[in-house]
């Protein structure tokens, strides 16, 4: 159960667990029973929507890894698009899995089919290097005022030293080492600090979205 929760942040299973405390013991036991992929998909095909949501949540990291391995040169949002195509296919074809059989070979075959298909369809378009369009693209303006204001709001969420580091690397284009040296950090420490700062920033962004 905790494993599932760790894999799927943002999903409202935390709520499910809380409400489980209010349920009779028998139902609580049902919630905690066998959460193998097979069991989840079997329940999903019986019409249990929550089990299906959980199934898709727990297979998503694996599917992401499959997609990333094949298309690491694709931008993250396109990889996520492909993931969504795979999830949709899993939904549409979920009845072609036969209960009693392992889910993984079935799932991987679907993923392979949809991923190959997705890359075949977009491969030719997306793999063009951006340099080819350099003279077609308007020159990037020095960040719009609004974006700068957003940046300041975001950077105010973390401590000033980390903010300085992020500003130097992300906005002024310095390397982590250069930025770290200015703050008296070694190269390794600078990279770690930058990584932590980015993580805190994305968490802060997540909080602000809600």
């Amino acid at each position: 159960m905790t494993g599932v929760l760790a894999i799927s942040p943002g999903c409202d299973y935390a709520g499910a667990v809380v409400s489980a405390r209010l349920m009779p013991a028998r139902q609580e036991a049902a919630l905690h029973r066998d959460d193998s992929w097979e069991s989840l998909l079997a329940r999903a095909n019986d019409g249990d929507g929550a089990a299906f949501a959980r199934f898709l949540m727990v297979v998503s990291p694996t599917m992401r890894a499959v997609i990333r391995r094949r298309g690491c040169d694709l931008p993250a949002d396109q990889q996520e698009d492909i993931l969504q195509e795979v999830l949709l296919a899993i939904h549409l074809k979920r009845q072609t899995w036969r209960r009693g059989e392992p889910v993984r070979p079935w799932l991987y075959a679907i993923a392979r089919y949809k991923v190959v298909d997705a890359f075949r369809r977009r491969g030719a378009v997306v793999n063009l290097p951006i340099e080819d369009f350099a003279d077609l693209l308007p020159e990037e303006q020095a960040a719009s005022p609004l974006a700068l204001r957003d940046t300041d709001v975001m950077l105010a969420q973390i401590d000033s030293r980390s903010a300085g580091l992020v500003r130097a690397v992300a906005l002024e284009g310095k390397t982590a080492e250069e930025a770290g040296a200015a703050l008296g950090l070694t190269a390794g420490a600078a990279r770690v600090a930058l990584h932590r700062a980015m993580k805190r920033l994305s968490e802060a962004a997540g909080r602000m979205m809600k």
Binding site: A53, M57, H91, Q95, T96, P105, Y108, A205
Partner: protein
């Protein structure tokens, strides 16, 4: 909205959808057999089953020209259904067994039969009728089977279509053999095989186009 959040929204939306209707192998089999039996029965009713059917059925070659395509069709049908589910393992080599048995009959005929009539037996006199009848009679069951297989999830659509074509071609050929009076293995191993190959190619082509998902 970040991509991951939109994925979570998609998952929530999918979980709220009704469970899609399952693919039914039984319904697919029934519909394909029905769509095949109907035109075949009509064909046999119009052109007639061979007059000497009961007597001829005692000969090995006559039995073989119905039994071998029927066996091939059954095997291919089972494989087509297996290939329609993602992640199923299946081996294609059993399909070579009917072919091998048929080739054994050809060799037997060449070994012991009269040499003078080999060419006449091979070319026969109804080769074109045979090719046209089998392919025409196969079109409807093949299309029907493909329509039903769209519910399934073949990860190699052209292969699944080809196997279905092989199954339908085999079944129709077994029925056509009840009408055809050319009993030399030289004839039927050439022209029946060619007709079944045509239907298989048709299945591969249609499958590659219509079974994608």
């Amino acid at each position: 909205m970040t991509p991951k959040r939109s994925t979570e929204d998609l998952i929530r939306a999918l979980a709220g959808q009704p469970v899609p209707a399952p693919w039914s192998p039984v319904a697919t089999l029934g519909a394909t057999l029905g769509a095949g039996a109907l035109p075949l029965a009509l064909f046999l009713a119009l052109t007639g089953v061979r007059a000497d059917l009961a007597g001829a059925m005692t000969q090995l070659a006559v039995q073989a020209k119905t039994v071998l395509p029927l066996g091939l069709g059954g095997l291919a049908g089972a494989l087509a259904f297996a290939s329609a589910r993602p992640g199923q393992r299946f081996a294609l080599w059993p399909l070579a067994l009917p072919l091998a048995l048929g080739m054994a009959l050809v060799l037997l005929r060449l070994g012991i039969g009269p040499e003078a009539t080999v060419l006449a037996e091979w070319v026969g006199s109804t080769a074109l009728v045979c090719l046209l009848s089998i392919t025409a009679l196969s079109a409807l069951p093949l299309a029907t089977g493909l329509v039903f297989l769209r519910r399934a999830a073949p990860t190699r659509p052209a292969l699944t279509g080809a196997l279905l074509g092989l199954a339908v071609g085999g079944g129709v050929t077994a029925g056509y053999a009840l009408h055809c009076t050319e009993d030399s293995p030289l004839f039927f191993m050439t022209w029946y095989s060619l007709a079944i190959c045509l239907v298989t190619a048709m299945g591969a082509m249609w499958g590659g186009r219509f079974l994608r998902w």
